[in-house]
């Protein structure tokens, strides 16, 4: 058991997966000698050599496209895109090959690969470095989408993603990278993709979040308990696609009220999808409209004002109180 940051935990997962399976290789911009701009891949080159850990030219489309080719050949590439804002450069290869090759080849070429990328705001970055567009991938048939919220689940989910027979988009909340440490067990751990976690049990309302906004969400839950005697259940989605509809529905069936939190733009975002599913499966239990506390349908702001833009615990708590007050 060791106390680790998320960066260290992800690094451990890569070490573990590469040790367990020599088909796993790691590629991307500045991931080898430099160990990644966030140091997630630090030390891998020395340990596993240049054939399995290699820098690529500066071309995201080429990175994903060649990674898919390597997966066709039977390797298990873990490709890093330096910031999720640059996954747009690889959109065609993601949609047309990574997400489709299993289907196009009628199962002959499954694409067991992971595209890792740091996402989200909160680190005073320049423009295009704070995007949160997981909904694009959730809308894309054939992909799985995973977003951890802390060191331990990050490590377990990354191991699971690498083992997964399908292509996984793995979004890393960079605001959490070094934000805190957590106990990470020594033995290899995985978490099943497609399963949400009840991060806090409660009876009055269901708060759903994932990734970096888990922290203000849990903070809001604690504040509400302390200051307002409100007992909120908090769900950490972890897996965006497939989504653990059952856990969500069970919770809201119990609480009757729900607030959903994410950083990405609101329209056609993940919260909309959750609302649609709750409408389908828990309609008769809903006591109030489900509130969305999300990024706005604007461009992510330049960093001087990002803290106003990002969902904070106060905004979340207010949405909870308003939802509880609704009748």
């Amino acid at each position: 058991m060791a106390q680790m940051t998320m960066v260290e935990a992800l690094n451990r997962a890569l070490n573990e997966s590469m040790t367990a399976d020599d088909r796993v290789c790691v590629m991307g911009q500045d991931i080898a000698v430099n160990g990644g701009v966030f140091r997630v891949t630090k030390g891998l080159l020395d340990r596993f050599g240049a054939d399995r850990v290699f820098d690529t030219p500066l071309a995201e489309d080429g990175i994903v496209g060649t990674a898919v080719g390597m997966a066709i050949y039977g390797l298990r590439p873990v490709a890093e895109i330096q910031f999720s804002g640059f996954t747009m450069q690889a959109f065609d290869q993601i949609e047309q090959n990574m997400a489709r090759m299993r289907n196009r080849s009628r199962g002959k070429y499954p694409i067991s690969m992971v595209m890792r990328t740091p996402y989200g705001g909160g680190i005073r970055a320049v423009e295009h470095h704070s995007e949160s567009r997981e909904a694009y991938w959730a809308h894309t048939p054939g992909l799985k989408v995973v977003i951890p919220s802390g060191p331990r689940n990050a490590r377990a989910l990354l191991n699971a993603a690498i083992l997964d027979p399908d292509p996984v988009v793995f979004y890393e909340p960079k605001a959490v990278y070094r934000a805190f440490r957590e106990d990470v067990p020594d033995e290899m751990e995985t978490l099943p993709i497609g399963t949400a976690r009840i991060a806090r049990e409660g009876a009055d309302l269901t708060l759903i979040a994932y990734g970096a906004v888990m922290r203000p969400t849990l903070e809001a839950a604690e504040d509400l308990a302390d200051l307002h005697q409100v007992d909120v259940e908090v769900i950490d989605l972890l897996s965006i696609k497939p989504m653990d509809t059952e856990t969500i529905v069970n919770s809201v069936t119990k609480t009757g009220r729900c607030v959903i939190v994410h950083e990405g733009p609101r329209t056609c975002g993940i919260a909309a999808e959750i609302i649609a599913r709750l409408n389908e499966h828990a309609f008769e239990y809903l006591l109030a409209p489900i509130r969305r506390v999300t990024g706005f349908d604007t461009h992510f702001p330049y960093f001087q004002v990002e803290r106003h833009y990002l969902p904070d615990s106060e905004t979340i708590a207010e949405a909870v109180r308003e939802t509880l007050a609704w009748e």
Binding site: V68, M70, I72
Partner: protein, 382 residues
């Protein structure tokens, strides 16, 4: 003998050190040269200096493959016009380019084809009934046969090129086999950024990947001059560190010479190679296209004289390997093969709508299983 382009290094203008003059011409970087190959000219005459020297049975084998390709093509066009086939992209006129590019490949090698490649696909071992299925909108058409290392052909222009490079990178990284990958695309595709990215990746990683750009002069209605700032697309390779060769794509022996050179280069571990095959699309772009809108009959007629099949016929006749009768026999046999495939296609042409959920993921997640149920209910109603 691979092209020397890449090895050419900068030669700086070296001023005479004894002279006091400080006015010297600029240094120049020599960009090198590339070969422009033709073995069999339009009259069926061979340039022996470049002849790949195929034995007689091989010469007949490639001739027959070209004839089969054309028979298949004509039959499919026929079926399409009669409503028995979906929209497809004929390869009429590009048979030598097609067969030549896969000729040197072994079974362990890989092929990532574009959509106008059924000639090469048949050569590589795709059953013709399956290709009929594919173009007629049946799922199973796309499934590569178990023992064929090919990708399903690509509809999205250029999108399959990095896959070829990735496979080649995998081959090189594993280092346990000496397989190579061939990937073809059109003059239009050469404009796609991903094609440039792919060439660069291949050069950087010395990936054993052979790129074949089939320069047939047109991308639907867009002619080469509107497509590209250069008319010789072989120029693209050296700019990315990929040795290149240009070849008459209607000359099957030239094609084989070029692809053999390229495949040997890649197989020996020297990295990628680019072949520009200069050819012409004699027919429609697809069966949904009307070329009369954008190109002249004269242009098409000028290319009729360059037919790759006639040219080879003349050469083989001169060599005593063919005569009017054997030509007829081969043609009929190929036609029979195609008709037999059509029969098989007709038997297999059964749509299975429930299959749309089968290969989205290895296992159906619950949310998709629910959608599948919904869909099956809908099908049950129909």
């Amino acid at each position: 003998m691979p092209s020397q382009t890449i090895q050419t290094s900068a030669v700086r203008g070296t001023p005479d050190p004894t002279s006091s003059s400080r006015a010297v011409p600029p240094a120049r970087i020599d960009l090198g040269e590339i070969d422009d190959l033709r073995v069999l000219d339009e009259n069926g005459e061979v340039n022996e200096a470049l002849d790949p020297g195929l034995p007689d049975d091989e010469l007949l084998r490639v001739y027959r493959a070209m004839v089969l390709t054309r028979k298949f093509d004509i039959r499919m066009l026929n079926m399409q016009r009669q409503g028995e086939m979906g929209t497809f992209a004929p390869g009429f006129g590009q048979e030598a380019t097609q067969i030549g590019q896969v000729y040197p490949l072994a079974q362990r090698d890989w092929y990532s084809p574009s959509y106008r490649s059924f000639g090469a696909q048949i050569w590589r071992g795709w059953p013709m009934d399956q290709l009929f299925l594919l173009w007629d909108g049946f799922f199973e058409g796309f499934a590569p046969p178990p023992d064929v290392n090919d990708l399903p052909f690509s509809i999205v222009i250029g999108s399959h090129v990095p896959l070829a490079v990735g496979i080649a990178m995998g081959i090189r990284k594993k280092g346990v086999e000496d397989a190579v990958v061939v990937c073809n695309f059109g003059d239009g595709a050469s404009s796609q950024g991903i094609v440039s990215e792919s060439m660069n990746f291949a050069a950087v990683f010395k990936a054993p990947c052979v790129f074949v750009v089939e320069n047939n002069g047109w991308a639907i209605s867009t002619k080469l001059e509107q497509q590209s700032g250069v008319t010789e697309l072989a120029r693209r390779g050296p700019a990315f560190g990929v040795p290149s060769v240009r070849v008459d794509g209607n000359d099957i022996l030239g094609m084989i010479a070029a692809s053999t050179r390229a495949v040997e280069h890649a197989r020996a571990g020297h990295g990628p190679y680019l072949i520009e095959a200069v050819t012409y699309r004699m027919g429609v772009h697809t069966t949904a296209d009307d070329p009369k809108v954008y190109r002249s009959d004269d242009e098409v007629r000028a290319w009729e004289g360059k037919c790759p099949i006639r040219r080879m016929e003349r050469h083989l006749t001169e060599r005593g390997l063919l005569d009017a009768e054997t030509i007829e026999t081969i043609g009929t046999a190929c036609e029979q093969e195609v008709l037999a495939a059509r029969e098989s296609f007709r038997k297999r042409a059964i749509a299975r709508p429930e299959e749309i959920f089968d290969f989205v993921y290895e296992e159906l997640p619950p949310e998709l299983a629910a959608q599948r149920d919904e869909y099956l209910r809908r099908l049950g109603r129909a």
